[in-house]
């Protein structure tokens, strides 16, 4: 979503270097081709353990899921009945599943947009020399550390339409408080708010690390050229942050599609499926209804959806990303 700005930013001459493609750069430039085989071996050695572990603990379960998605199985019985594509047909015809797809999209757009924009804003702010900045940095990261039930209880208290904290705030502006978690229209915004509250510290910290890596002399040069803060932000900060932004967009979308804890703690997918997303659906079908086939089919749909989104981003967004 910051793509346009990235693009315009990277045309500014202040920034040195080329616009790199997806991966190729580095070694090939300076070093003569001597021992490509040796380099290949080193590559395998470096990346091997990571890939092998994924093979055992991630890819294998996913392949197994693909197989299960054509079966009917209650996760205990020795018999896995072959049902062909019935599970997928069921999902296509199931009203709940269509709602679940829409919810996942709704959640992803709200949660990713919110945490990225607010995270960048907070990072820029906390990167300034301001008194009390360290304290604010600690505070904004705290929700990321918290887990589970305590978050559910504190936000249920905040959202309560009759005595909640948010009602008090809204009252000041004479806005009536909706029944946040009890109303199918408001439950999703409420869950998104909590998700952003919990995750904005995470994006902030990564953006902060990215900001540290921007050489100061770029800013000095911009200042000498008479650029104001807004222009410096567009011409230096945004393009220099674009690799991090790209990373955050990709990973945030993936993790928002898999947001489970907050929904499980706050709404359990309700009311009336208003916050039931793909991952919660997979959980419900798999671990509550013990319908492994349907859960597997839904997880394959989830996987394919995420894969498509990611490939599109790699293809169209990373071109605009500015590296070194």
């Amino acid at each position: 979503m910051l793509g346009e700005e990235m693009q315009s930013g990277s045309t500014v001459p202040l920034v040195a270097g080329e616009r790199a493609g997806a991966t190729v750069r580095g070694a090939t430039r300076a070093k003569p081709r001597k021992w490509p085989l040796r380099e290949w071996l080193l590559f395998l050695l470096f990346i091997g353990p990571n890939v092998i572990l994924f093979g055992i603990f991630s890819y294998w379960p996913m392949i197994y899921s693909a197989y299960l998605s054509t079966r009917r199985w209650d996760m205990i019985s020795p018999v896995k009945v072959d049902v062909g594509l019935d599970n997928y047909r069921y999902l296509l015809s199931d009203d709940t599943f269509q709602k679940v797809l829409w919810n996942s999209l709704y959640f992803a757009v709200g949660a990713v947009g919110g945490s990225l924009i607010l995270g960048l804003a907070a990072a820029l702010l906390l990167n300034q020399r301001l008194r009390g900045r360290d304290g604010a940095r600690a505070v904004i990261f705290m929700p990321t550390l918290l887990s589970g039930a305590a978050i559910g209880i504190v936000w249920a208290y905040i959202f309560d339409p009759r005595y909640g904290l948010l009602r008090t705030v809204l009252n000041v502006f004479r806005i009536p408080s909706p029944d946040w978690l009890g109303d199918p229209t408001w439950a999703m915004p409420a869950v998104i708010i909590v998700y952003i509250w919990k995750n904005v510290g995470f994006t902030t910290v990564i953006y902060l690390a990215g900001l540290q890596a921007i050489p100061r002399d770029l800013y000095e040069a911009a200042r000498v050229d008479g650029a104001g803060p807004f222009w410096r932000f567009r011409s230096v900060t945004l393009p220099m942050l674009s690799p991090i932004t790209f990373f955050l967009v990709v990973t945030s979308i993936l993790s928002s599609f898999q947001a489970f804890d907050i929904i499980n703690v706050m709404t359990r997918g309700g009311p009336v499926d208003a916050t039931n997303n793909l991952i919660y659906y997979v959980y419900q079908q798999g671990f509550v209804a013990f319908n492994a086939g349907r859960a597997a089919a839904a997880s394959i749909v989830l996987f394919v959806a995420m894969l498509i989104v990611t490939l599109l981003q790699l293809r169209y967004s990373e071109r605009r990303v500015h590296y070194g």
């Binding site: 209650d74 309560d160 309700g270 009311p271």
Partner: protein, 442 residues
Amino acid sequence: MATRLSRRSVLKGAAGLAAAVPAVKRSSVFAAPAVLQETGSKVKITYWGSFTDALGEAERGLVQRFNESQDEVEVEYQYQGTYEETAQKLTAALAAKQTPDVSLLSDVWWFKFYLNRAIAPLNDLISKYNVDTSDYVDSLWIEGIRDDVQYWIPMARSTPLFYYNKEMFREVGLESAPKTWAELEAVAPDLTRKDGDTITRAAFAHPSAGSYIAWLFQCVVWQHGGRYSDENFNIMMTSEETITAGELYRRSVVDGWATTPQDVNTDFLNGLTASMMASTGGLAGIERDATFEVGTAFLPEGPAGFGCCTGGSGLAILADKPAEKQEAAFKFVMYASSPEGTAWWSQNTGYMPVRKSAIQSEEMQAFFAEHPNFKTAVDQLEKTRPQDAARVFIPNGDQIIGKGLEEITITKSEVRPAFESVQKILEEEAKPVLEAIEALRS
């Protein structure tokens, strides 16, 4: 496997150290011979439980009392998370063939393990030990029987109970709880407070599907003469009686005297609702946290009279264990549900005593005198009946019905179409269960 590891640790004599060192290198070659594995002549068994906090202490206490009461069996207690998580872990453990010997399973989970022959039939052991089955509270005992065979023994059992705020009811001139839904409906407007359109205080409150509205509504359906289903999985969501019960729920929210809060117990404790139906399991906590006088009563009656279901969990023994282990596990199960065991457990947890003689015992009678609200719950227990198959035996049945009820209580949808769609889903989901039952019988 788990038990073997711990036994080995004990044998090593340096339990602490052995526990801290990962057991990688010690392969199965080093497993102690069978004779050594049994320290002394005691049979060691593993028990998977689901309780935390004060209930968890009581569960550990029960195991400890059993271990100290005899010297043939030693039970190792292992906490496995909530009911849901325990069932999930047991599923994984079955796949990995690393099961405990005995496990706690809740009303909605045990059947699935039964269908897969994962839990053991207990009739032989029951007759071998001359267990007086007629002493068990009938509704609780019957629930664990399939085709005349006992699989599931009642342990931590609860029922729905009507809770009311005595002070608020006094304000509208009621000294006791309403006997019928019609009575409650009549005083409901007086109990309700509004600020514009917002109900600031409701007469009654409904939980969400996630908080088991379908468990409570089951009783209301019975009170109206309906059922979710019969024993043979014929779904009866669209019978006139069931619809009439649904209409009561719909009226309660359309007429604006009932709310659907996040947490019904919290609303009740804060005086945001004057009454509710909730599990007897919460009684002790509610009495502890309430700042007003808490009243309890039998569930209100409907046109067809009284109706109340059971709930909670029981014990099952794993089928893949050798006879010796099963027998040892059975001894523990019998202790836990013995008159002494259940009386102790009940007093320490607030769950229902599962034996008639325990209820009659002097000890319990004295306890009732101190806890009149608890007595209400136990008195009501005798009038309960086992739950409908559609809720407890159809996978996810509880949530499927719960969602239909959310449509009525939250989005105020018409009852008939909502229940018609529930009926359709339940019928579809019942098919594999019926097939499995068929396969089991042949």
